[in-house]
Symmetry: C2
DNA sequence: AATCTTACTTACTAATCAGTAATTTGTCAA
DNA sequence: TTGACAAATTACTGATTAGTAAGTAAGATT
């Protein structure tokens, strides 16, 4: 009986990577078990159902995001630096390795994932939008961003863009992704 | 033995809807067969493998798009009307019914779909980008669009945006999607 | 020392999946 | 009417899936 170190955390890490890589319907308990050198049932012991596992991944991500935005290292940034920080989250997802964001992955399969997981996706998407909207409003008030319309719509646009661009990178390469990131800034900065 | 009317076409229609709805890993031959009141094997008769079926859907879509853009009713439009036509494709996908675009659906599952299908996704995405890029360049030259940077990057941004926005609509509603469409135009028109 | 708990294994179920082979049914043309 | 072909059925395979129940080994608690 070989034991996993930090079992719950290790499983979540692997599940998160698999979700970004293959989606909820694209991975199985067997994938995780094999990678960790244990049996399927060992994963079920920690996360009884696949829904439980998916929810745990999403909740951990939400809490991580909450911690970041409430930390002074992000909170006290200028609006422009806040945007850069936000975009860096997506840049660091390694489009060059074909990873996409959790929200995009789950929303693409939204109609075939469990209800409880749908709610978590919804909640995370709202969290991201709320923060980004505030950062955009702050930046426009400070005179460093320019855009027409409502901050809510501009935030939804930017979030949709990065989500879509990560997916595009899979088919057309990471270079295209970075072009889009650049364009977001061109469209926003004075 | 109950026969399907226009079997190949009917199957493709259903497969396309299922792809937009549940993704490649999210539907099965049984879904299609049940809907048509026929057995699984009847679908395999027309499309031996799931990869064949997926490829057929993508190829039909590409040819449809090719026909449209080479038709004078699109070709002779003003740049602004061309943009509206393009966006209407995505608006007509019925975000309110939770449908997303084929490209987004396939790219989200890119790492777990057959190779031949990956190539088709790639090809369609390139087709869309190429056309949009030309329309944007034409519009900027004509003085009706304003944007910084390269038309290629702006085209990639807009395509990523609509793709992501359709997915967002599933979690946050169609209203949000329409807000993003509006914002695309605000960001582009003088 | 005895017991309880954690983390896992073994062994299984029931369902679903894509796909195949052999056969039957229906239609149309010569 | 017969034969050819298309389109479907029946009946199956082997793989994979999520999930469960019972049992075991090791460590912690009492």
């Amino acid at each position: 009986m070989s034991k996993i170190k930090n079992s719950k955390r290790t499983i979540l890490n692997l599940a998160e990577a698999l979700l970004q890589d293959k989606g909820f319907n694209g991975f199985s308990y067997a994938n995780i078990a094999a990678e960790l050198g244990v049996k399927n049932a060992a994963i079920h012991y920690h996360y009884p159902s696949k829904e439980d596992l998916g929810i745990a991944v999403m909740q951990r991500y939400r809490e991580r995001f909450k911690l970041w935005i409430n930390n002074s290292r992000v909170k006290d940034l200028t609006p422009e630096a806040k945007l850069d920080w936000f975009l860096s989250i997506y840049i660091n997802m390694r489009a060059d390795q074909g990873k996409i964001c959790l929200v995009g992955s789950m929303e693409a399969e939204f109609n075939s994932i469990p209800d409880g997981l749908q709610s978590e996706v919804q909640a995370l998407h709202k969290d991201l939008l709320t923060w980004l909207q505030a950062a955009l409003a702050e930046g426009r008030d400070a005179g460093v961003f320019t855009f027409k319309g409502e901050p809510a719509d501009k935030a939804a646009l930017i979030l949709s863009t990065v989500q879509g661009a990560l997916q595009m990178a899979r088919a057309l390469g990471a270079k295209k992704f970075h072009g889009v990131i650049q364009q977001i800034k061109l469209d926003l900065l004075k």
